[in-house]
Structures are given as C-alpha cells and as structure tokens.
Symmetry: C2
Subunit: 324 residues, 2 copies
C-alpha cells in the first residue's frame, strides 16, 4: 500500500515513523504548505512536495494520511482531498463530527473514494471502547478520564497570560474517582472530583508570579472548575522535564445484567508519545481504507463502521488461529 503524508508536524513525523514499522506500507511523498526545501524529513529517499502539486500524485497514492489540525486545517482539507484520494484524518472536535462527516461523505461519494475520519485514540479507540461496552451493557454508565498527559489547549491558554514565557499543563485523573468508578458504585462525579490540573510555568523577567497564578486558577472553563496547582520553574528545567508529549486515559463502563450482578469494562492507555501513537492508529486505518476501497466501498466512515480485521496486515485465517 502506497501512502502520502499531508502536513509534517509532530503527527506527520509520527506517521513517517509508523510506516517504517509496517512492512506492507510504503511512504511515497510528504506534502507541505511550506517551502519543500525547508522541510527536513527522516526518510532520505522520499520526496517532499508542495501541496500545490498534490493532484498530480492521484495515481501514485492509495491513501493520503491527513496530518493537519482539527481547528482550521481538517475541516477544509478532508473534504477537499477526499475528492482526489482515499483519505484518513484525526479530526477530534467531538461536537463537530456529524457536520464534518456529512461534508466528507458527500465529497468521497462524489469521487468514489473511502474516507475514514476521527481516527486516533479519543475520538478513535475510546469511541470503540464506548460503542462496544454500550452495546454489551445497555443498562449502565460511561466514564472517561484523560491523562496523565499534556493538554495543548490548556498550555496555550496559560501562555497567553502576560508575563508567561512558557507553560505546560498536565491533566491528571484523580485516583479516588477512578477507584469509585471501578468499584461499580456508579458515582456522580463533579468536574473537580475527576481531574486535577497541574501547571508548569516559566515567567518572563520581572513578571508577578502571584498575579499569574491568580489568573490561571480563576480562568473560566479552563481552570476555575478544577483544583489547579501552579509550579514556577526555570527555562532549563522546563526543557529538561516538560518537553515530552506523553498522554493517556481511561474509558470505563459499569452496568447491570440483572438485579444482583454488575460488571466493569475498562479500556486504558498509557502513552509516551501522543502523536506517535495516534500516527500508528492512522496507518492501521489507512490500511482498512485501502482494502475497503478495493472492495468497492465508497463514502465516509468512522472507526465504528470498520471490521477490526481490516486494520491488520495479517490474513483472516492467521488472525483466527493466533488472536481469537
């Protein structure tokens, strides 16, 4: 299977690494909006091409893996490139998935392509965990916890405060809440009871630490509803201890199958690198998109529409023998 990468940030680089780990997948080109000469990729023998020239690669690429952001890139890019290629994206603005799906579906059907959207871990693997566990325990309750991991949005929000030079925010699930959920007690948890927010901040020379801390802790939506800790650290310590992109989380459903019997279904992830892990999911679903396209399928899908066996490079009989 021949894939292209469109957009070469952390996620695009993760897809490039993921391709190296999947022997049946070949990377044929990386597409960028920047000057291609300025983009240095890991694979020496793969061309970097301007996105302006993407249409001429129509016949050379089985699936285009879209690695832009959900805020502004993907809402435009996925419908546009689904006219030219089979595509997968990691669109993760949950509230806008139905709207994104409709646009991409129209484009993909119109041009006879397969598009798989919202591929990653949330949405993505967490959606799978929710869908399977809801189908199996219809009488139950869902809980999702995120972390311990870096929230890009919250880190950005801190960086916009005057006097802040750099900042990183970790979302931390609270063990007592996780334990209460796992016990099957079916607790009603407030926002504050589920997650802590842990901030590491580098101040500008002469900034007022107390005022920065006040502004963080009282920021509506982002921090006001949480127990938030603010740690002021040096630029050196920031670079040394807070440059990673670790993340993870938990999806738990508890439910009853009779008056007497309750059950707990849990799926959890602990990830050293959010973009590299997401990239590997994208490559697995690119494989599925290619196969579905070869079978004559058309239109937009999510992870809920795709049989698990389609993600694997291993044939059905071997999967049945070794993994079922």
């Amino acid at each position: 299977m021949k894939v292209g990468i469109l957009g070469y940030g952390n996620l695009g680089r993760g897809v490039e690494l993921a391709v190296k780990g999947n022997a049946d997948v070949e990377l044929v080109a990386v597409f960028t909006r920047r000057n291609p000469d300025s983009v240095k990729i890991l694979s020496k023998d793969v061309p970097v091409v301007s996105v302006e020239d993407v249409a001429s690669w129509r016949e050379k690429i089985d699936v285009m893996i879209l690695c832009g952001g959900s805020a502004t890139d993907l809402p435009a890019q996925t419908p546009k490139f689904a006219e030219i290629f089979n595509v997968v994206d990691s669109f993760d603005t949950h509230a806008k998935i139905p709207e994104h799906f409709a646009k991409v579906d129209a484009a993909a059907k119109n041009s006879n392509h397969v598009a798989v959207i919202s591929v990653g871990w949330d949405p993505g693997l967490f959606s799978l965990a929710r869908a399977y566990s809801n189908a199996i325990l219809p009488n139950g309750t869902d809980y999702t916890f995120w972390g311990r991991g870096v929230s890009q949005g919250h880190s950005d929000a801190i960086r916009r405060i005057a006097g802040v030079k750099n900042a990183k925010q970790y979302t931390v699930p609270i063990d007592a809440a996780l334990d209460a959920v796992r016990s099957g007690a079916n607790p009603n948890l407030t926002t504050r009871e589920k997650h802590l927010r842990e901030c590491y901040v580098v101040l500008e020379e002469g900034a007022d630490a107390a005022e920065v801390e006040r502004q963080i802790k009282t920021m509506p939506n982002y921090f006001a509803d949480y127990d938030t800790t603010v740690n002021f650290i040096s630029e050196d310590e920031f670079k040394k201890n807070h440059s990673g992109l670790a993340h993870g989380g938990f999806v738990i459903r508890t439910g009853k199958t009779s008056e007497e019997h309750k059950h707990v279904i849990e799926f959890n992830l602990k990830l050293d690198s959010n973009p590299e892990f997401t990239a590997n999911i994208l490559v697995a679903y690119a494989r599925a998109a290619y196969r579905l396209s070869q079978e004559g399928k058309r239109g937009c899908m999510t992870v809920l529409d795709i049989p698990p066996a389609y993600l694997s490079a291993i044939d059905g009989a071997t999967l049945r023998k070794n993994l079922v």
Copy 2:
C-alpha cells in the same frame, strides 16, 4: 429481531435476562434436549420446545443463540443449526477455532445463513483487544491474565479426587506481574509468576485432608506449575461464599513506536456473573448477525469480521454524535 435460545443452563438463562434488557429483541422460544415440561424459564409467555421440533421454527426466528458447551455440544450443534438459522455461539476452545470455523462456514454458506462463532469475552472481547492493539503496535508483546474468577475445569479436576465432596477453584492474577507488564518493562513471565490457584474444598466424612491437598498441588497441567493454596471449608460456608460465577481478566499489549517511546494498551473486565455477561455479548452479536444477513452476507464470521456499529441498537448518526 426475534431470537431463540437453544440450551437452557446458566448461559441460556443469561440470554433470557439479556433479551429483557434490549428492547429491540424478542425471545420467541427456548429449545431443550430435556423434557420441555421439566424446564422452568423466567418468561411466563415464552414456550419451551423440544429441540426435536426446531426445524418447524425456521420462519419464526431471525437468529438462534446457541447456549451449549464447547466440549461436545457446539462442535456438532453450530454446523447443524447453521443449516436452518442464522446462529451465534460462544465456542471457546481456542485451539479448535479454525476447524470449527471451517465446518460452520460450509454449513452457513450452503444454506445462505450468517453464523458468528466464539462470541464471549475470551474468545470475544479479548480477541478484539488483541487484534486492535496488535494492528496499532506491531512491534510489541501481548499479555493475557485471567481472574479473579472461577475456573470450571480446575474445579471439576479437584472434584474427581477421592474424598472430595465439593470444590471451587479461583484463578488469581498476581499483582506484581500485572504491575511489571504495565510498567512497559516487557517481562518474561513464567506460569507461576502470572497466576495463583486458590482452592476451596469440602471433604467427604473421614477423608484425609493432607492427602487431598497433596494430590491437588501435584496434579500435572492443572496445579503443579502454580503456587496453589488449598482451604478446607464446610458445606455451609461453601454454599454461602462460593456459589457465585464471578470472573474477569486483563489483556495488555506493550510496544514501541520509536526507540524512545513505548506505550501500554490495556483492556480489563471485572464481572459479577460470567454467564450473564457472556449472554449480553451473544445478544449484541445476534443483532449484528441479523443485520448482516439482511444485507445479504453469508457464511461464518468471528468478532474480528464485524463492524462495531452493527452490535448497537442505536443508528449510525446517533452513535457518531454521542459515542465517537
């Protein structure tokens, strides 16, 4: 969707309860090899019918849920009844799944039916966890732990020892091993390091406790390779504390996406009732079998071949809005 239950033990009764929890599913009959008059079911308005008469229900049942055992019932029943109905079973002899699949596939294709085999949690949900995580982390290692829960096979083995009146064996995963796996250390674990075996035994009057304990602990395959504890208890205590069918387990895959970054994917279950939980999975896959059959699909499948959305009574757009 109209379903039948074939075989009314713990699992069949679990399916009967599960149907009550799924508003789109109707139970039309329970089939038994026993005298139908001797089988008392929970649903007052549902007939209990001799399995001899099953063929006359061909037009009245969308999916037959086969609730026999894997040792002798299902190897014969599933191919036989796949000639008459769409079927789902919980065949769980891992080593014989390819052979069972081939026989059921031939029968189902021959008669234009859908059959879904090996539906449950292992095989079943654990197979899904292994398949997804293997596709996403091709460079990694799988670990499966079972328990804490009742092993029927090991309990039976103890009951065959002279002097034993009743016995229950719990398989217990060892926390230190689970922690080592979750750390991403990729440990090589011996059988003894992964699970304990905890036995509760009621002796016959005058039996030799020390000899029974010796026979249990040295029993090849079942106990000799494990740290085993044997507790002798009264018949009353046995009935009071050891009549449940709780179970559970853990599927963990750890792997790398680059030299520096490792990841842990974990799926785990904690079940108050093994048969009731398995029954709910069977009903969800019966729904999938019915839909696939309506779409013109034919032949045998496992959980790996079925899109997750097919398990749910909720339509695709609503699933996308609420669960993706």
